[in-house]
């Protein structure tokens, strides 16, 4: 049977292709070396390419071209400014600012512009990466400066721009001149030391690692010194570079001085012109505490705007002069690029190695887990076989139990039928019991009446015995009175006796004449003696009567007590009979309820018999299903055997 079922099972598909590849990769640790090769070789190729390209960058001098473009833009702006010599700027309205910035007026920018508009003829908004990052102003008289203010904001990488707002003083026309300048990474590079012949009015954007990090404002007086002020755009960059910030100072000869931060006091050492000093003071007073003056770092990339100011006769600023040695700077750039590429290559190789190692470990762990899972699958297959055996055994037991249940159902059907017959008997017996209970109830009522009659009789006896006791008490009183009378009679008899003696004495003294009197006296004395004896007898009888009366009184008291006890018992008997009657009535009602419920019980037994037959049918079905379960368990056993063989194959491989 089991062999047939195994033959009917589907064929073994064998290990899939993905699993074979995974085993090949994890075997002998081929994968880490493969990944290292894949990651490092292209990196080395890119590095070589970058090396050659870096050389070409230096050769082409793209930074120079960008600088030329920037200078051209600045010159155009300056020319525009020159053409609007008589134009003053008023940016007091938020709408004008919005027109310049393309965004809602910033409160801070509005206040800045409004504060400086009456003073400066021109205001130059400096944008970097699409956002207004500062404002540069030039005061009237061409002796002013461009002050920049930076504003916080993210850099989006969009081209930077300059916007100059102009208004004609004669007709009030307002004009906005916009020039964009795209920051390039290699416009110029500020060396660690050196000088740059800057024009009195300059605005310089400071780049670092290819990102604009600030704007440098040059406060320059052609007669005195000048300073470079710089605002850090990003607080994060400021924090990182704070320890390396240096101070740049341009003196009156245009020499750029460089020193560590804090070593140069701008106002004390460099600002000798009262106008410049006032300007710087107001600027510093208006700036936030995070204003950093001249904080460009060595190696920063500097781009800038250096408009020519013809009025003060200063020659135009040559951007190349910022880079003290353009050729060497370009070479330095090339060297810097090579260094960057080498470092980047090493970093990439290291990262690729780490990645390969991580991936290799992950795959190895996965293979181990797969092997462990195969073992678990094999164990699971064994457990499944065991479960299949258990299921088959349970199915067999279930079938046996179903047969037993079927037999039990048949017995139960017979028992239910018998119970139905007995239910009829119960109904008949309940009716008889109800009838007997009715009779008992009638008897209880009669007993209750008899008990009441006994109670009344006892009460009458009590009254009569109490009357007898009273009569006996009266009799005792009368007997006592008779005793007193008898005592009087006895006393009279004694006195009569004495009187007779005295008469006899007197008769004796009288001699012969007193003989007859002596006889009479003797008769009197004898009569007195008889009276005394009679009195004694009466007293004896009275004593007996008194004793009998006392005994009778005592008996009467006992009789009264007995009668009262009997009456109480009769009352208790009446109460008991009453309770018995109540219990009989309840029993009669309950029995009648049983008799009435018996048909319903018989009907319910009939339903139970029907349900039992249904259950028997289901037991038969269960036996069939158990048989089918046994077959399924055999099939499951076969599948588990196949699964175990497959897991054994995976484990061994």
């Amino acid at each position: 049977m089991a062999d047939k079922e195994r033959e009917a099972a589907p064929p073994d598909p064998g290990p899939d292709q993905g699993l074979r590849v995974t085993r090949w990769l994890t075997a002998r640790r081929r994968l880490p070396w493969l990944l290292v090769g894949i990651a490092v070789l292209p990196t080395l190729a890119v590095a070589l390419f970058a090396w050659s390209q870096g050389t070409r960058i230096v050769t082409r001098d793209d930074g120079q071209a960008v600088r030329d473009a920037a200078i051209s833009a600045m010159v155009a702006i300056d020319a525009e400014i020159e053409r609007t010599e008589q134009v003053t700027i008023s940016l007091a309205s938020g709408a004008a600012i919005k027109a310049m910035t393309g965004a809602a007026a910033d409160d801070r920018l509005t206040s800045e512009v409004n504060a400086f508009a009456p003073v400066y003829r021109q205001a130059i908004l400096v944008g970097l990466n699409g956002r207004v990052v500062g404002i540069a102003r030039r005061p009237p008289g061409s002796a002013g400066r461009i002050a920049t203010r930076n504003f916080r904001g993210k850099q989006t990488g969009k081209p930077s721009w300059f916007k100059i707002a102009l208004r004609n003083a004669s007709n009030g026309a307002q004009k906005i001149v916009t020039q964009t300048i795209e920051p390039r990474p290699l416009i110029g590079r500020l060396e660690g030391t050196g000088s740059a012949p800057l024009t009195p009015i300059s605005a310089i954007a400071v780049m670092r690692r290819g990102k604009a990090v600030g704007v440098v404002a040059v406060f320059l007086n052609w007669e005195a010194s000048a300073t470079i002020g710089r605002r850090i755009l990003s607080g994060q960059a400021q924090r990182k570079e704070s320890e390396q910030q240096l101070t740049y100072v341009v003196d009156k000869d245009g020499q750029l001085l460089l020193g560590p931060r804090g070593e140069v006091d701008l106002r004390a050492d460099l600002i000798r012109d009262p106008v410049v000093k006032e300007m710087i003071d107001s600027e510093v007073a208006g700036y936030d505490t995070d204003l950093q003056h001249s904080t460009a770092l060595p190696g920063d990339i500097v781009a800038g705007y250096a408009p020519m100011d013809q009025r003060i006769g200063t020659p135009p600023l040559e951007w190349t002069s910022i880079v003290t040695e353009p050729t060497s700077a370009a070479l330095t750039d090339s060297t810097y690029l090579r260094e960057v590429l080498i470092v980047a290559t090493l970093v990439v190789a290291l990262l690729a190695s780490l990645l390969a190692l991580v991936v290799s470990r992950a795959l190895t762990r996965r293979a181990e887990r797969l092997r462990a899972s195969s073992i678990e699958v094999e164990d699971g297959a064994k457990a499944m076989q065991t479960s299949a055996e258990a299921s088959r055994e349970r199915a067999r037991l279930t079938e046996e139990r179903a047969e037993q249940q079927l037999a039990s159902m048949e017995q139960m059907t017979e028992l239910v039928a018998e119970m139905g017959i007995r239910g009829d008997h119960i109904a008949e017996a309940a009716a008889m019991v109800a009838e007997q209970a009715g009779r008992a109830s009638t008897a209880s009522e009669e007993g209750l009446r008899a008990a009441a009659e006994v109670g009344r009789t006892m009460s009458e006896i009590d009254e009569r015995v109490s009357g007898i006791s009273t009569e006996i008490a009266n009799l005792a009183t009368q007997t006592a009175q008779i005793g007193e009378i008898v005592q009087t009679v006895s006393s009279i008899a004694d006195q009569s006796n004495l009187l007779a003696f005295n008469a006899t004495i007197e008769a004796a003294k009288a001699g012969e004449q007193g003989a007859g009197f002596a006889v009479v006296a003797e008769e009197v004395r004898m009569l007195a003696e008889r009276s005394k004896r009679a009195a004694a007898q009466i007293r004896s009888i009275l004593g007996e009567i008194d004793k009998a009366a006392r005994d009778t009184e005592r008996s009467s008291e006992q009789g009264i007590a007995s009668v009262r006890t009997g009456r109480e018992r009769a009352e208790r008997a009446a109460a008991t009979i009453d309770q018995l009657a109540t219990a009989n009535e309840e029993a009669e009602a309950a029995t009648r309820g049983i008799a009435e419920a018996a048909p319903a019980q018989v009907e319910a037994l009939g339903k139970i018999a029907e349900s039992t037959r249904t259950a028997a049918q289901r037991a038969e079905e269960l036996r069939s299903e158990s048989h089918e379960s046994s077959k399924s368990a055999a099939e499951l056993d076969h599948l588990a055997e196949r699964l175990r063989e497959l897991a054994t194959t995976l484990t061994n491989e």
Binding site: D494, Q495, N497, L498, F501, N502, T504, I505, A508, R525
Partner: protein, 139 residues
């Protein structure tokens, strides 16, 4: 002394009797008034038909206890009337005539008690009784 039978009055509690010729009257509930400074045997005086007579407690004189609630028997002896207080009267009877001699039965016997055969009461001589030494004081 021999002769006719003598009529006597037997006294209670028994054993003694008085001759009928010595009797004067039997008095019940006699009022006896004690007399100060009287002799040992006299207990007081009583009223007998208007005359005061001395009263002797016979029980004491016979060596017994004092008599209470007894009868007073008035007798005469040696021409003197006096009373004998006794417990009661048993009855009248007749005794054979005695020889008249006084018989002493023991050293305690008095002279005024006459001898009597067994079963018979001894007669009290009311004359000799007055000679009893216990009655010789003032009355």
């Amino acid at each position: 002394m021999t002769g006719d039978a003598a009529k006597v009055l037997e006294l209670l509690p028994g054993g003694h009797a008085l001759r009928q010729e010595d009797l004067i009257q039997i008095i019940a509930d006699a009022q006896i008034a004690p007399l100060p400074s009287a002799g040992e045997g006299w207990i007081g005086v009583a009223n007998l038909r208007g005359n005061l007579i001395g009263v002797i407690d016979l029980g004491v004189l016979l060596g017994g206890a004092a008599t209470s609630n007894g009868l007073l028997v008035a007798v005469s002896g040696n021409g003197l009337q006096y009373g004998l207080l006794c417990e009661g009267i048993k009855g009248a009877s007749s005794l054979p005539a005695a020889d008249g001699a006084t018989i002493r039965r023991g050293p305690e016997d008095s002279d005024w008690l006459q001898a009597a055969p067994p079963g018979q009461p001894r007669l009290i001589d009311t004359t000799l009784l007055l000679a009893d030494p216990r009655l010789q004081g003032r009355l």
